[in-house]
Symmetry: C2
Subunit: 201 residues, 2 copies
DNA sequence: TCGGCGACCTGACAAATGTCACGGGGGCTT
DNA sequence: AAGCCCCCGTGACATTTGTCAGGTCGCCGA
């Protein structure tokens, strides 16, 4: 019997996945949580074999959650299940210690198999996504550029970003200009979009 | 026996919902589709009582799909199941003829009840979302303003938008300026964000 | 110890953006 | 017919944005 923990912020999806996986005779969902903060406590309490983790969650995100779980319970495997196939997500998830990475538009039948393989210690990765990850490569942005670009996501002006990050306006403009260049964008907005779609933010 | 059709682009979610609803003795999932274009054919072929429809789908979106289904098969009820609780989505979905609107973070146990109520001819709407919809109101944007703002989503320049919409640059600027004013934004980017979060695009 | 790199700043410049005032035309209702 | 709203356009204007060239500082590896 493989003991499972589900972590997903959408209750409906959580319950539905639980129903789907409970159909398998060798799988057992022992707990469900709806936020990243609750994952570690739930693992401590229920000692699951595998954690199914969503990336986008309120509180602690799935990547950080994976790190925490792996650090505290090295025997527990983590399988990331996410909506968006951002190349950067895959890379960061694996570096954080995840054993598998499944996108939500894979057929339902494959999920149980993925869980079993992860439980056996194998790695499960969507092949198409893996190649994307190789093509897109690591983020070319420096930490500061990433931070500035992330602050620009909500459409703030240079002045707003500068005051929020305690920087000079000129510095912000320079960082933005660098980020625009590195993302081959023409715009701050375009730079945000491509960086986001690559999982660099 | 209530016959169901599932329309959702994410195969995993689709299968999971199918598993969840099949647990109920009075519900039966007779078909699943992964794109909006396939909905009408599937309804014609399987004659479901209720269609569970996602809003964001490739091809035809859920709103238009609802319209088509209601026009061709007035007896078939549509229950919208979506990730985002955009006020505008709710409004447009109801106008398109949907019988219910459920957000994906409602508890899984309530979904079956929602399906049964919709099947009985009742309307099912998340109360919190309904008030949001009243507060946010209808889109203040004119059709043209909406179109221009939608074209600005990918970070295009004024020139790019103008050429794509066969407009003068000045006209595009005027429409954008109007949209910025109506959304109480300071920016084109901010205007896009608030309009998007209200479901006005 | 030196070179390279990233973070930070300044100043200046061209280009893009947002705003305003002002038109004309068409469709709608009163 | 008059008034209203939307669409489309022009021109001018101030502001913002993106780029470039320069310079200081601290860190790290060769």
């Amino acid at each position: 019997m493989i003991r499972l923990l589900l972590a997903d912020d959408q209750a409906l999806v959580r319950g539905a996945l639980s129903a789907l996986l409970s159909l398998e005779s060798d799988l057992e969902v022992v707990a469900e949580v709806g936020s990243g903060d609750a994952v570690l406590d739930a693992v401590r309490q229920h000692c699951p074999d595998v954690v199914l983790m969503d990336v986008e969650m309120p509180g602690l995100d799935g990547i950080s959650g994976t790190q925490q779980v792996r650090a505290a319970f090295p025997g527990t495997r983590v399988l990331i299940v996410t909506t968006f196939g951002r190349p950067g997500f895959l890379r960061r998830a694996m570096q954080a210690g995840a054993s598998g990475f499944v996108v939500k538009d894979t057929p339902a039948a494959q999920l149980a198999d993925a869980v079993r393989r992860v439980h056996e210690g194998l790695r499960v990765v969507d092949p198409a996504l893996a190649t994307d990850s190789l093509v897109a490569g690591e983020s070319p942005l420096t930490p500061r550029e990433t931070e500035v670009l992330r602050a620009a996501r909500d459409g703030s002006s240079v002045a707003g970003i500068a005051s929020r990050l305690f920087l000079s306006e000129g510095t912000v403009r320079n960082h933005l200009s660098a980020a625009i260049g590195k993302t081959h964008a023409a715009n701050r907005a375009e730079a945000v979009l491509t960086a986001e779609s690559n999982g660099w933010l």
